[in-house]
Each structure stands twice: as structure tokens, then as C-alpha cells.
Amino acid sequence: MPEFQRFSYDVLVIGAGGAGLRAAIEAAATGLKVGVVCKSLLGKAHTVMAEGGIAASLGNVDDRDNWRVHFSDTMRGGQYINNWRMAELHAKEAPECVRQLEEWGALFDRTKDGRILQRNFGGHRYPRLAHVGDRTGLEMIRTLQDHGIHAGMEVHMECTVLRLLLDSGRIAGACGYDREKGRFYLWQAKAVVLATGGIGRAFKVTSNSWEYTGDGHALAYRAGAELRDMEFVQFHPTGMIWPISVRGILVTEGVRGEGGVLRNSEGRRFLFDDIPDLYKDQTADNEDEGWRYTQGDKTARRPPELLTRDHVARCINREVKAGRGSPHGGVFLDISWIKERMPKAEEHIKRKLPSMYHQFKQLADLDITKEPMEVGPTTHYVMGGINVDGDSQMATVPGLFAAGEVAAGLHGANRLGGNSLSDLLVFGRRAGRYAAEFAKANGATSIDEQQLQATATEALAPFERGASGENPYQIQYDLQEAMQELVGIVRTEDEMLQALETIAQFRQRTDRVGIVGNREYNNGWHTAVDVGNLMIVSEAVTRAALLRKESRGAQFREDFPNKDPEWGKYNIIIKRGPDGAMLVEKRAIPPIPDELKAVIEEMK
């Protein structure tokens, strides 16, 4: 029988990106014993990839900004199916969370009078994103990491979590193994916070790192928790498309915030041709006004390049399909043109967008201060996730909490850029606080030893099949191809039905997966576990997308191209049925309180 190394905590946090670290810091501050388990080394989580900034209505650049505007921008972006309570709390608490980062050592870019500078971003009415050039995520994770290591938490790096454990319906901890030696671990806990990020690796073209395999979504689902809004997967409009090996790597929206424009092969700024009614009043109708907006002119409206991500992504798709794309199948994103408008443009670009300059120079041999980039849509973010209580972030399983990308609700049908980093801070903090409260209010849990042993036995089974089993890398690759092809940016019922069949076949292959070598740092083994999780999230995305017979936010159905007001009243909930089959249902959104309704009306 496999041996387990045993640890016991009040609060266990799974994931050490922005949300996980923020939750752990908060929980540790209450004096409880806190453990953190993460998949990579500390400080490597996908949060480092975030570029643009943290959305918070500090009002440093434009004092017309406040939580009410931020709240209504978030709801508009989410097409009003958001968890309105989360959108409210997020807008109210984000400024304080940003200031707290500064207190812990973060160094944001400054305004002339020495306050935190804020930049424009898609869907935000006023300049709202606190930022550090285009490496805000790195600043955030390093600040949390360097603060967190002195906050009294125990960190288990490079571990795979296999299962959440339950004790009569309540969470009791988690079990998994460490990568280094392949030793099994039991982390017993009174409360667990999932902060495992997203699911981007279910698709072929993605900006997400290898870690993003929907682990938290799958763990929670297996433990009986509800998922919601899984149909909403955000395709970021601007990913690199060439060279082929870097396809999908993100090109920050900050490029457009700084004045970058999108053109097709005819040199036309095609986004001016299609501005949705919902945004007509707030969008510039000529190039000059758009430019003035990016340079801080408060009387100007934003250029159409800064419309919501789903819209921009679809417009790019359309241009490419119509044969007006760039040589490698994207469109042109040009920041170099600003030299017509300002002196020393080259230096300005390098200072404002240092990592973009670096990234293109090194990976594509292209100088963005001189030439346009080629860009196209890339899978970027999942709005869907674990269904949580807006205040406490508790899932439908008692003692299980979720924060950040793995949780659903804040972003509704589509997320605004910059709202994810603030999400991590606001709800990481809340999840940590309420998990600590739960741990204090509830006694110790006991562990089901049988379940523990069964999990270990199952995890080791692929070693017995060895080289005669299915290659886990190949299954992952095939799944990514299928999801990209069949459940991507443009969806239809036929293709999604086909996807469900395909996923079922892949699942059988996953049951036959084989691993060569031993348990020590075996990437094949890790991939085999990841693939199991990806199967669950892929099926969830597909089933939810099938049920929602309309186009809204990030979901575009070619067979139902319009928004249906009726569907605007529902979220889609996914749950594991008693027989193990995936259950999908629509659930009415709770009525929004009058005062919040009034805020939305006022900001229209």
C-alpha cells in the first residue's frame, strides 16, 4: 500500500498565483496554520503573464471614476449575467487592494504628482488600470510572494493534486504527490481554497501556460461542487501568430491602449466599420478622436480597437475569412505609426511596452517600433468556473472556497481586461478571510483512508501499462485540436455534438494511458493527470455551450447569431450526477437589487 506523507492545516490553499497567494496571506494573518500547494515553483504561476494592469477606480487620472462606473462597466462587459454581488464587491474593494500591494512593496508607474498611474483599457470608461509597463502580473506575483514568505505559510512546491477529500459532505483536505520524488502527500484541512486558474490548455492556440489544465474545475466537480458559465471562454483578439512555435502568446491590449491600431491587408481600420449599438455612444467615430482618447483627452471617446475582446476577436476572424488577412493568417497591429503623432515615438514605445518590444524582437525578429505586428485570436481566459457565494467565495461543498479564474461569476459572459488581476486580489482576500472563519467555526475533519488508498492506486495504474498504453501527450494534443476546431470562436450545434462524441472516445483512451519510466519528476505522469482534468472541463464547456442557444459575450453560435433576452435571465450550471454523468441545467439569475439596477441605468 502506498505511503502518504501527512500534513495538517487549518486552511489549505491550492494554487500559488495571485489569488492563491492573496488568500494564503489573508488566512495566515488570522494566526491559523496555512499550507499552500502549487504546481510549479513559487512565483512562476500564470499570473506572471498578465501584462496590462489591475482595474481599480482609484480616480488618479480621471476623477470622474468611482466604483459605480467600474461596476456598470463590468456588468455591461459581462452582458448582465454576472453575479452582481461579486461585481459590486469587486468594484468597491479593488482600490483598497491595489493600495495594499503598494504597502507591500509593489512599484507602479506614477502620475506627474506622484500617485499611481492608470491606463486605458477595453471596456473601461475611464483610465483605470494601475500598471507597471507591460509586466504588471510579474510585479503583482513577486510582491505577494515576497510578502507571503514572511507571513507564516508552508509552501509545497511542484506538487500534483489528485483529489479533494470529503468528510460527510464537508471538505476534509486534498491528496496528491510531489513531482520531485513522486511521493504521495495528504494535506488534511478544515477549509480548502482552490485558486488553480483556468483551462486554456484545452485548446490548441492559447496564451496560457502548461499549468492551465482546469485542475481546480475538475477537482471541485469530482467533489460534487457546481460549475457555472462554462460556455464562456474568452478568445483574446491579439495573440502572436508567427512564427508558428509562438502562436498564441499574448500581445497585450496595452498596445491598443497606447494608441496601437488594427488594420487589414488593405490598410483599413476595419473596426470602425462595425461598432455594436451598446457601445456606439462611447466609441470614437473618427481616427483623430480615437488617438486623442489614448493620449488622455477627456473629451474624446475611445477608439473601436478598445471595444470588448469578443467583438474585436470576431471582427479579426471575419477579416481573415474574407481574405483581407495578413500573410500568416491574422491582421496587422501597428503601434509604430504613432511616430506620425509624437516625437521620440520609438523610445516611448520601448518604455511603455518593454516586454512586447522584447518578445517580438527575440521571438519573431521584428521591431515593433518600426513595423506592424501580425496578430490573431488566442484562447485566453475562462469566465466560467466554480459556482461560489458572492460574499464568501464558498462553493456548494461546505468548506470549499474558490477565487480567481477558477471561480465563476464576476465576469459573466465576458471579462474586461484588467478585471482579472483585481479579481485575484479582491476575491483572493475574501476567500482567505472566509476560509479562515470557516476553519475556526468548524472542528477537525477525519480522512477516509479507503478513498486515499484508492486514489493512489488509480494514480499508479498507468505505470503498469507502460509503453503499451496510450501516449498522454498525444491524447492532449488530439483533444486540443478537437476543441479548437469544434468548440472554438464560432460554434454550431453539429460541431459541438461531434465534439462530445470525440471527447467520449478520448476519455476511453485516457483510461488506457501508459507511462514509461519511474515516478521521479516524470512529466509523462503529470500530463496523464492533466489530461483527465482537461476531459472534464472540455465536456463541461461543450455541454454548456450547446445548451445556450444564443450568442452572448464570449460565446458566438453561428446557428443562433443573436442575443436572446430570455437567455439573459439564466446561468448554466453543471454538476456531477449520482451515476457519474454530467448534469447540465439552466438556473434563473437572482433578481438584482434596485439600487444596483439604478447604478446601471444611470451609467448607460
Binding site: 510549479s40 515553483l41 512562476k44 504561476a45 500564470h46 506572471v48 503573464m49 493600495r99 503598494e102 504597502e103 512593496g105 512599484l107 507602479f108 508607474d109 506614477r110 504628482d113 506622484g114 500617485r115 498611474l117 507597471v132 509597463g133 510579474l138 510585479e139 513577486r142 515576497d146 510578502h147 514568505i149 514572511h150 520531485e180 501556460s209 502548461w210 499549468e211 508567427w242 512564427p243 508558428i244 512555435s245 509562438v246 502568446i249 499574448l250 518593454p354 516586454s355 522584447h358 518578445q359 527575440q362 521571438l363 519573431a364 501516449n471 501527450y473 498525444q474 494534443y477 507511462i515 514509461v516 519510466g517 519511474n518 521521479e520 519528476y521 516524470n522 512529466n523 509523462g524 505522469w525
Partner: protein
């Protein structure tokens, strides 16, 4: 560009190991990490390596490529002579776990020995601070660090002399510099730099600066100013003279 290339990858564990050759197809625009991934997926499923972002932002895929400490994700095949086998080894300054993965946990432990950030009281009644962009930029350079530990790998104090117990290495000198030069910080780390972290071991050969994938001017902007602080405090000739008198 060649259509296929040979990669000579070190495989092994703490007990020992050897180079193994793999031939794999290569295409335009590929980086070393792409080739290693392809080998892993098709020929060596259990090949151990670290990687996360594949965009030079997380600093996970550090290795030594043809003898140079580099990120695999930022090393383009078109910059390498593919007529010869491409030699890929784990970093030498840290113990091997398996194949290309090394035990870098020492860096995390050593970081704990540097006194943390301690801000002055807020400048404004609302609890916020005022800082000028110019003052912030100086430190922002250090905060670009992605903790790939390539500078630690190339530093001879660690790599050749194995002074891990006495010296914190360039990465943590940069970390200390970021704290010491932070406009809000009030902590004093000068004595620790001399006594505990042995900044004097660094003889400014600039190897660390040369391998930094973020182009941080480690030696000139971080280490030398810290050395100057130590000298100012403890080795001022005038002060010494006055002390004697």
C-alpha cells in the same frame, strides 16, 4: 534551415547520468524548447524539464545550451549551428533532480535571510504615498527579474566555489538592491550585506549581467552601488582615521 537536427540532452539523476542523442525535425521560427518538447512527446515521454509560459516571462526553463546558461524558450534554433549536435544540460550551480531539472530550493531559502520591505509611514492622510516616476524606474529595472537563476548558475562564487552557505549570489543582490533603493523602504541591510551575505566575494566579473535574459545591469546598477554603501559605512578612510585619533 536544416530540416532535422540532433539534440544531445543530459539524462540522469543525483547518482549520475549521461548525454543521449535525439534527432527531431526542425522548422523555421522554432526555439530550443520546441525541439525538446517534441522529443519529449515522441521519443522520451519521461524526459524531465521545467517550463511554464514559453515567452521568457516566468524563468522556469533555464538550462545550459552549448555551454551557455539560457532560457530554452528564448533561444532560437536559427541562432545555433545545427550542423553540430545541440548540447543541453541542466544548470551546474544546483543539485540535479532529474534530467534538466535542478533543485533550486536554496534560492528560496536564501531569500528569507534578506530583511523584508519596511515602508515609511504614508505621505497622505488617505494612507497613500507619493513617488516620482524617475525614482521608481531605477528600482523597476531590478523588479523585472524573472528568477530564472541563470545569474546564480554562472556566478563562479556559487558554481565553482560552492559558497551557497555564505554568499547570496547575484539574484539576491538584485533583490536586496531593489529593497535598499525602494523609495519607501526604511530598513537597513548594509551590515548584513557585509557580514551575512558576503558581498565582498563578488569580484565584478559581470558574468551574471551577461547572461541575464531580462538585460538587468546586475553588476553596475545593483551590486556595485551596494558595495559602495558597504564601503561608505564600514571602510571610510577618514572615519577610520578619526576613529584612531
Amino acid at each position: 534551415m536544416a530540416t532535422q537536427a540532433m539534440f544531445r540532452i543530459w539524462r540522469g539523476d543525483p547518482e549520475g547520468g549521461a548525454f543521449q542523442d535525439y534527432v527531431t525535425p526542425v522548422e523555421e521560427g522554432m526555439v530550443v524548447l520546441d525541439a525538446v518538447h517534441r522529443i519529449q512527446a515522441q521519443q522520451a515521454n519521461d524526459l524531465a524539464l521545467r517550463w511554464n509560459c514559453k515567452a521568457g516571462k516566468c524563468g522556469s526553463c533555464s538550462a545550459e545550451i552549448n555551454g551557455m546558461p539560457r532560457l530554452m524558450c528564448m533561444t532560437r534554433l536559427s541562432d545555433i549551428n545545427l550542423e553540430m549536435p545541440v548540447i543541453i544540460e541542466p544548470m551546474h550551480a544546483f543539485p540535479v533532480i532529474r534530467d534538466l531539472v535542478t533543485d533550486v530550493s536554496w534560492n528560496f531559502r536564501a531569500k528569507l535571510t534578506v530583511k523584508p520591505f519596511k515602508p515609511r509611514s504614508p505621505d497622505a492622510p488617505d494612507g497613500t504615498w507619493r513617488m516620482q516616476q524617475a525614482d521608481v524606474e531605477r528600482v523597476q529595472e531590478f523588479r523585472k527579474c524573472i528568477e530564472c537563476f541563470l545569474c546564480q548558475d554562472v556566478c563562479h562564487v556559487l558554481r565553482e566555489h560552492r559558497k551557497h552557505d555564505e554568499f547570496i549570489g547575484p539574484r539576491l543582490m538584485v533583490y536586496t538592491a531593489a529593497l535598499e533603493m525602494h523609495p519607501l523602504d526604511t530598513e537597513d541591510r548594509t551590515k548584513d550585506l557585509r557580514d551575512k551575505h558576503n558581498i565582498g566575494f563578488c569580484n565584478i566579473t559581470t558574468c551574471c549581467r551577461q547572461v541575464c535574459p531580462e538585460s538587468i545591469t546586475i553588476t553596475e546598477n545593483a551590486i556595485i552601488p551596494l558595495k559602495e554603501r558597504v564601503v561608505d559605512r564600514f571602510y571610510d578612510p577618514l572615519k577610520q582615521l578619526l576613529g584612531i585619533l
